[in-house]
């Protein structure tokens, strides 16, 4: 990239910072609520915000798609997935967590790399139907060891699918270090699939956005996929059940925190005269209010009903499944 003249405007950078700070604040809120027993297991984005936000800002939410793994919250929000629906999911609500019909995101995916195959099919299908969209698909460097990563990249190359693979190279897959995942560089794999691969400082919002914009443009032109290897650091735990102190080397976290993408962006914007204590206080206040409102909205959504176990399994459930639903309804009575 041209370091002197980043593609993302300073206004765009302030918007990016807002998504990043919202994500960071959500992490803290969700973790606290998980510790209180109100939220389910949760995986924070902390440390990877510039990679997620910088890539998703290159998308047009009206036509483009985000296919997440499970650590890309701000990309979902930026596509238009409502915050309270994300919260509803962690609160164990069923219907309330549904992705609205006009929001172009697929559900979170915890079976690693399987979503890349879906993303390729989606992108390929858009191309076949001459629909304008581009698909941005996320996975971690751990997922890149899965067979589905290879199959998906290979199929995408063959079909010249309009897709951008974003590899969140955060150095850790629970306790498994990056060196254990692969002896090679991830971005170089793209060459073998017949499309470009690029490594980027994943903690630099401008740099990430530049490569993402180029990749999205390339896909939109019909020139096929790109693999973006975002070098970043997981600054928190894998999820709320994890204890990184059991495996992180001494000093690793402290060194990684020096590269905190939010602090870096704030320092840059301060240098441009666009960030100071007052701006921080205003933005943090807005975000806290937004989170409060989302928690309240999600909490007031109907709780999961046992009968919802049987909803959306089939369009037309087999007789047997209907009978089991009745059996459960007999147990739950009016509460079902």
């Amino acid at each position: 990239m041209d370091g002197a003249r980043p593609g993302l405007s300073v206004e765009g950078a302030v918007e990016g910072l807002r998504w990043m700070m919202l994500s960071r604040a959500f992490d803290a809120r969700a973790t606290a609520m998980q510790r209180q027993g109100r939220f389910g297991t949760f995986s924070p984005v902390k440390g990877q915000e510039a990679s997620v936000v910088g890539t998703s800002l290159a998308l047009d939410p009206r036509t483009d798609w985000v296919v997440p793994s499970y650590r890309e919250l701000p990309a979902l929000l930026r596509q238009g997935h409502p915050l309270e629906r994300v919260m509803a999911g962690y609160l164990g609500k069923i219907g309330g967590a549904r992705i609205p019909d006009d929001v172009n995101v697929l559900p979170n995916q915890v079976a690693l790399a399987t979503q890349l195959q879906h993303a390729v099919g989606l992108a390929w299908g858009l191309r076949l139907q001459r629909k304008p969209g581009v698909v941005m698909a996320y996975c971690g460097e751990g997922a890149a060891s899965e067979g589905d990563f290879h199959e998906a990249c290979n199929m995408a190359g063959v079909q010249r699918a309009p897709i951008v693979f974003v590899l969140m190279n955060n150095q850790w897959a629970i306790s498994t270090s990056r060196e254990v995942q692969s002896a090679g560089e991830f971005y170089r794999r793209a060459e073998g699939y017949g499309f470009p691969g690029v490594a980027v400082d994943g903690n630099d919002l401008f740099a990430v956005h530049d490569v993402a914009r180029e990749a999205v443009d390339r896909a939109r032109r019909g020139d096929g996929p790109t693999l973006i290897d975002c070098l970043t650091y997981r600054l928190s735990f894998h999820n709320t059940t994890d204890n990184p102190r059991a495996y992180l080397p001494d000093g690793w976290l402290e060194r990684a925190e020096q590269e905190d993408p939010i602090r870096r962006l704030q320092a840059y914007l301060a240098g441009q005269g666009l960030w100071d204590d007052a701006a921080r206080a205003a933005m943090e206040g807005e975000i806290a209010e937004q989170l409060d409102a989302a928690v309240e909205a999600a909490t007031s959504m109907p709780s999961a009903r046992p009968g919802e176990i049987f909803e959306n399994v089939y369009a037309d459930p087999p007789v047997r499944v209907r009978q089991q639903r009745e059996e459960l309804a007999h147990l739950t009575g009016a509460d079902g």
Binding site: A111, V120, G125, L128, V158
Partner: protein, 325 residues
């Protein structure tokens, strides 16, 4: 109306549906230029072009997984897995992904995908090609598992599968692909899922099967008739959904049943049939229900498959014992 074998019925069904619905595309290994290793897709590439008849890289998980994405994009994919025994390379996409996508997305998305795969033994194929692993997919809620046994059902069930908004594993009996023709209508018709078919009436004992084992049971019933045992044959047609009512009604009439399948005995779908019958038809049963299946071993080399698969002799003996018990 024309006489067609199963291969021709598949070809006719695919072409008919691709003509009727331009969203339908077919994808898989060797299905384009070659027309499929069994020629079930022959002629489709010439007729519908490479965008709708797609030779894919050799990756079962990619064929099935990308089909889910193609469906989300608005297309209706019919994916072919060259042999069901290789579907394990796609197993994690079939059950945990396609089967659960409607559920996981709370109804926002559905996987209108048909996965066609030949299976079953008796034609001396190499390892994995004949494996009858259908029951493994029955434990994947959200997926329908259907197994036609004749040309008429094949086309009608294929059209039903392609139009089903949920994923359907469509299993084709490779031993019967070209064995005999039957009147198959040229135009549109469907065979609904979840309705067993009484192939042959018989008051002494009911032989229960699906896919190629139906043909085996018909031959066994002929031989039993010569001995004076009236054996009926019930073709389940679909494992998911299962026609519990039809199954229970027929076995309640005869009071005796033998389940026949090409999969190994333990935890085969026969176990599900027997459990269902003891629950739903216990007081109508006059004898223990027998099972005639493959052994609990890997599928042997073709030279030994005649000793591995259920045979007319084994079905006849089991039916005879059951009828006399």
């Amino acid at each position: 109306m024309a006489e067609r074998n199963i291969v021709e019925a598949i070809r006719d069904g695919l072409a008919f549906e691709m003509e009727r619905d331009e969203r339908v595309i077919v994808l898989g290994l060797d299905i384009g230029k070659l027309g499929g290793v069994f020629r079930t897709t022959q002629g489709l590439l010439e007729r519908f072009g490479p965008d709708r008849v797609v030779d894919t890289p050799l990756a079962e998980g990619g064929i099935v997984g990308s089909s889910l994405g193609l469906a989300i994009s608005g297309l209706v994919p019919v994916a072919e897995i060259q042999f069901l025994g290789f579907a394990h390379q796609a197993f994690h996409q079939i059950g945990p992904q396609l089967g659960r996508y409607r559920y996981r997305s709370r109804g926002r998305y559905n996987a209108q995908v048909t996965i066609r795969a030949p299976f079953g033994g008796g034609v001396k194929t190499p390892e994995f090609h004949p494996d009858a692993v259908e029951a493994q997919f029955v434990q994947a809620p959200g997926v329908k598992v259907v197994c036609p046994s004749n040309p008429y059902d094949t086309k009608g069930m294929l059209l039903e599968a392609i139009r089903d908004p949920d994923p359907v594993l469509f299993l084709e009996p490779q031993r019967l692909y070209r064995k005999g023709r039957q009147e198959v209508p040229d135009g549109d018709y469907t065979v609904p899922f979840g309705r067993a078919r009484l192939v042959r009436e018989g008051s002494d004992v009911t032989l229960i099967a699906w896919s190629a084992a139906v043909e085996l049971c018909e031959r066994a019933a002929e031989e039993l008739a010569r001995e004076g045992v009236a054996a009926g044959v019930l073709d389940l047609r679909t494992l998911v959904p299962l026609d519990v009512e039809g199954l229970v009604a027929e076995v309640s009439r005869t009071g005796r049943a033998v389940v026949v399948h090409e999969a190994p005995l333990s935890a085969g779908f026969g176990a599900e049939i027997v459990a269902t019958l003891q629950q739903e038809a216990f007081y109508s049963l006059d004898a223990p229900i027998a099972r005639v299946t493959a052994w609990d071993t890997p599928y042997p080399p073709g030279s030994l498959e005649g000793w591995y698969l259920p045979t007319v002799r084994r079905v006849v003996e089991a039916a005879r014992r059951t009828a006399a018990a």
